[in-house]
């Protein structure tokens, strides 16, 4: 059962995947439609031609790239389906599921040392350089590209909140309450962040909070921009200048000036670290929870939830209710599978059959933008990444730059909402 049997989730259009017709729901992501159709392998990897498919389902890992409507390397988890959309696999000879060049992976089981490959002889070296150039690069240059209209004049807002998860919503609510005209920029197609995952953990704000905040933002003259990614930020004296790029490849980017920025960019899923951790069928818990809640995606028949987070347990119950055979495991040493995960290997050597591994392990703060803006970050230990360093008010060391939520360290949705409120209060003062 690829989807929950709810009429809301019934496919209403068709996209093409390498020419084949795939049922889809308009507006859901291409990656979700393909997973629902049992197509976990979207491409072959850059060097070893290993099978590649969606992992984070949230736009950060770039594992789900495919050519879409003639444009190479688009993140299919961020591209909405519409009737007739053309999706093509990249970097595969004879198709992604039985790529001839996968032999490279088997020829070099311990990895290919590109620095010292064929350096013993001039002829061999020239051949290696020529051959590897042919293999390099995913996708091909677009044949023709539609023009993008000029960007609008610079816009000004009292404040910009980057990210509309619980922390961003908290900040936006606080700013709107103070009458500030703000831009709330959200990279996904709807506001809510992890509230859209329907974990329903104790203390979680309800998802209905998102439209409520949106109304308040609009009432104060502000805007919620969806599918809007802040790709760069610079300082011009007292102002921050933000480059806001929407997902639509034909929309011109916007330049937004503001004196106050609240970063609520959340966190990114990190893959587990064990052999074949890149196999399709391993999905990050938040991405999958979100696709299950909003698109009714049931990714297979047998799932193993790996890790011990409360979110993972909540998702396990929902997957079981959706009819999947679900088991939990605290830790694993490997996965196995041909082009999709088929077994999880436990420390004692025991193998658990599955077609889906739900990874509920560590996440890292999505602190790139904050660090690019000059905000100091602190190492969280383990492989937890760098969190933006803030004062209790949410201020960073950069004037006018605030941060809240998981970009400042792991926390529950309720805590994130509260930290957003605090940062919004301070930013609006």
């Amino acid at each position: 059962m690829p989807r929950l049997p709810d009429p809301r989730f019934a496919p209403d259009c068709t996209i093409r995947f390498d020419g084949e017709r795939i049922p889809a729901r308009a507006g859901e992501s291409v990656a979700v439609a393909l997973l629902a159709a049992g197509r976990a392998v979207l491409a072959r990897s850059a060097k070893y031609h290993r099978p590649r498919g969606a992992f984070c389902l949230a736009g950060s890992c770039h594992a789900c790239l495919a050519r879409v409507d003639g444009l190479p390397s688009r993140r299919t988890c961020q591209v909405p389906c519409r009737p007739g959309l053309q999706v093509e696999t990249q970097n595969a000879v004879l198709g992604a599921s039985r790529d001839l060049l996968a032999a490279i992976d088997r020829l070099y089981p311990r990895g290919l040392d590109h620095h010292h490959l064929m350096t013993w002889n001039g002829l061999a070296n020239r051949a290696a350089v020529a051959f590897s150039r042919k293999l390099a690069g995913a996708g091909t240059l677009p044949a023709e590209v539609q023009p993008v209209p000029p960007s609008p004049a610079d816009e000004r807002f009292d404040a910009v909140v980057v990210g509309a998860g619980p922390a961003g919503l908290g900040a936006a609510a606080a700013l709107a309450r103070q009458g500030r005209r703000i831009l709330l920029a959200e990279a996904e197609r709807a506001a809510g962040g992890r509230l859209r995952c329907a974990f329903d953990l104790p203390g979680d704000p309800p998802l209905t909070w998102a439209p409520e905040v949106e109304r308040r933002v609009r009432a104060a003259g502000g805007e919620l921009a969806l599918e809007a990614c802040v790709a760069g930020a610079w300082r011009d004296r007292e102002e921050h200048v933000l480059l806001v790029a929407e997902q639509d490849p034909l929309r011109p980017p916007r330049l937004v000036r503001t004196r106050r920025v609240v970063l609520a960019t959340g966190s990114s899923a990190l893959p587990p670290l064990f052999p074949r951790n890149d196999l399709p069928g391993i999905l990050a818990e938040r991405g999958l929870a979100h696709a299950l809640a909003e698109d009714g995606l049931v990714p297979g028949a047998r799932a193993i939830v790996l890790g011990t987070s409360p979110e993972g347990s909540a998702l396990a119950q929902r997957l079981a209710r959706a009819g999947m055979d679900v088991r939990a495991a605290e830790a694993a040493v490997a996965v196995r599978g041909a082009s999709r995960v088929s077994e999880l290997v436990l420390a004692g050597g025991e193998r658990l059959a599955c077609d889906t591994v739900v990874w509920a392990g560590e996440r890292a703060p999505a602190s790139q933008l904050g660090r690019a803006m000059g905000a100091p970050a602190r190492w969280l230990g383990g492989a937890g990444g760098w969190a933006l360093a803030i004062r209790p008010t949410g201020e960073t060391a950069v004037p006018g730059l605030f941060a809240a939520g998981e970009v400042t360290g792991g926390m529950t949705a309720a805590e994130a909402a509260l930290s957003g409120e605090r940062a919004g209060e301070a930013a609006g003062a």
């Binding site: 350089v129 091909t140 240059l141 677009p142 590209v145 760069g232 300082r235 000059g374 937890g384």
Partner: protein, 495 residues
């Protein structure tokens, strides 16, 4: 079933084993591991892999100072050239600049593993390609007591920030000769030095959009023919057969030398450093020169933030920092360090053979071995000074220029931009030979062509230091030429 690899970077297929191997080979700090393994250089720009690799390096025994996160490069999320071209560069002053952390090094930076030697025959201030190539060439000439001092990691300066072009198409016989020699040395590098540099002779294609620029190409053509280059002039339609994506209405004539090339810059530094070290030279990273000691007119020691090294000869190979270093020895160089920005797109299958350069605009671009478009563009309004921040103005200017020149590039997404510094001299020629103290030798003043010239110039310089008669470059390109009379300027620097 795929083999049992554990991947840390799925964009570029970098395995956990590769990270461990890099660490074991001495690439310990995050910036070096990034460059040596390639992790974090794909479209996700480290969103998934940076924390994993940092955690692994700490487990392997790296110090926290070695595991500072690398500077996030803009754009933080890929944006296509077509969309960046929609921005008006006129509304984007250069002052809009991303803050950059200081280069790793200094008091709280990583500490080098090996101790500072008490003395050396030759100390190179600067561990870019100039200093390292010189060190290796000196060891080949029997001068093995050489120390190279690098203030940060290898490839931190312009040697690790350039576009990797190597050409012989210059406007003077001297630079043509040096370019030809460098091309020959680059072609042998992988086998001779045991590390791949991915040299590809796709040629350089210069496009002349005006009759004035066309006349420049015609002038050069005669010099090229006299000096044995295979340069040809061609019509726009002929040039479009070499690069079908070019818009032939945008230029009048093109010059093409099929023997020019692009390389991958980073492994040159590792190759020179490793081979020089293997025969006794010392390459000390994260070691900053703070002054010199004198005995009479001569420099007698180099003072660093880790102690002093007594020495016979000091070479100033500090690139954009050469003026600062010379000032420490009381020598005033006329060099003006000037920022030069560059970017890279996502990789696609091969479509672009040559490095394309549009005369007059400063635009140049090529396709790397990994399939990325790598390109830069000089900005006449760029002020003098060392600056390593990226600007949205550059993104917009470059995007406009390249999408006019090759419209299909509009669909390619920019994944990363960065900046390095040219070491600009009044006549665009280098400064070589002694200046001030008789044992203070200059190896600086390359205006965006230092990387490509280094293999040839370092070879000549090492020969001269080892007793060969001086090549004309060591008498022509001395600092005192600026007192004598206006020397003819090199007019074929690009970017």
């Amino acid at each position: 079933m795929p083999s049992a690899k554990t991947l840390v970077c799925t964009c570029e297929d970098v395995t956990l084993a590769e990270v461990r191997r890099a660490f074991a080979e001495g690439y310990r700090d995050l910036e070096s591991v990034k460059r040596y393994t390639g992790f974090g250089t794909g479209p996700c720009q480290g969103k998934s892999c940076l924390a994993l690799v940092a955690g692994e390096l700490l487990r392997l025994g790296a110090t926290p100072a070695e595991v500072e996160p690398f500077t996030p490069r803009l754009p933080v999320d890929p944006v296509s050239l077509g969309r960046l071209a929609a921005l008006d560069p006129g509304g984007l002053p250069l002052a809009l600049e991303a803050p950059v952390a200081a280069l790793p090094g200094g008091e709280r930076g990583p500490r080098p593993g090996s101790p500072l030697p008490a003395r050396a025959d030759v100390v190179s201030v600067g561990g870019g390609i100039m200093g390292l190539a010189l060190a290796w060439n000196l060891t080949r000439r029997g001068v093995r007591d050489v120390v190279v001092l690098e203030r940060s990691y290898l490839n931190a300066g312009a040697s690790g920030r350039n576009g990797g072009g190597v050409r012989a198409q210059w406007s003077t016989p001297t630079l043509i000769r040096l370019g030809q020699r460098s091309l020959a040395l680059c072609a042998e590098f992988a086998v001779e030095m045991g590390i791949n540099v991915w040299m590809r002779r796709g040629g350089y294609l210069f496009l002349a959009p005006t009759t004035e620029q066309a006349a420049r190409l015609e002038r050069n053509l005669r010099v090229h023919a006299e000096n044995g280059l295979r340069t040809r002039l061609m019509s726009p339609s002929e040039a479009a057969r070499i690069v079908p994506q070019l818009d032939p209405s945008r230029f009048l004539v093109a010059a093409w030398n099929p023997d020019d090339a692009v390389v991958f810059p980073w492994p040159f530094l590792w190759g020179y450093a490793r081979r020089a070290e293997a025969v006794g030279a010392k390459v000390l990273t994260f070691t900053r020169v703070t002054g010199f000691e004198r005995t009479g007119a001569r420099l007698s020691a180099v003072v660093t933030d880790r102690g002093r090294i007594a020495c016979e000869t000091v070479v100033n190979a500090a690139g954009a920092w050469s003026k600062e270093v010379a000032a420490l020895a009381g020598v005033a160089l006329p060099n003006r360090p000037t920022r030069h920005e560059i970017l890279v797109t996502e990789g696609t299958k091969p479509w672009l053979g040559p490095l394309v350069s549009v005369l007059g605009s400063g635009l140049y671009f090529s396709q790397s071995q990994r399939g990325e478009v790598v390109g830069g563009m000089g900005d006449p309004s760029e002020p003098e000074g060392i600056a390593l921040g990226s600007t949205p103005r550059f993104l917009a200017r470059f995007a406009r220029a390249i999408t006019l020149c090759a419209p299909a590039t509009a669909g390619l997404r920019v994944v990363r931009s960065w900046a390095g510094c040219y070491d600009v001299t009044p006549d665009n020629n280098p400064i070589l030979g002694a200046a001030g103290p008789p044992n203070f030798l200059q190896l600086s003043g390359f205006v965006g062509h230092g990387f490509m010239m280094a293999p040839a110039v370092a070879e000549l310089m090492a020969g001269w230091m080892a007793g060969d008669p001086p090549d004309e470059i060591f008498t022509r390109f001395t600092l005192d030429r600026f007192q004598r009379q206006a020397a003819p300027a090199e007019d074929f620097v690009i970017g």
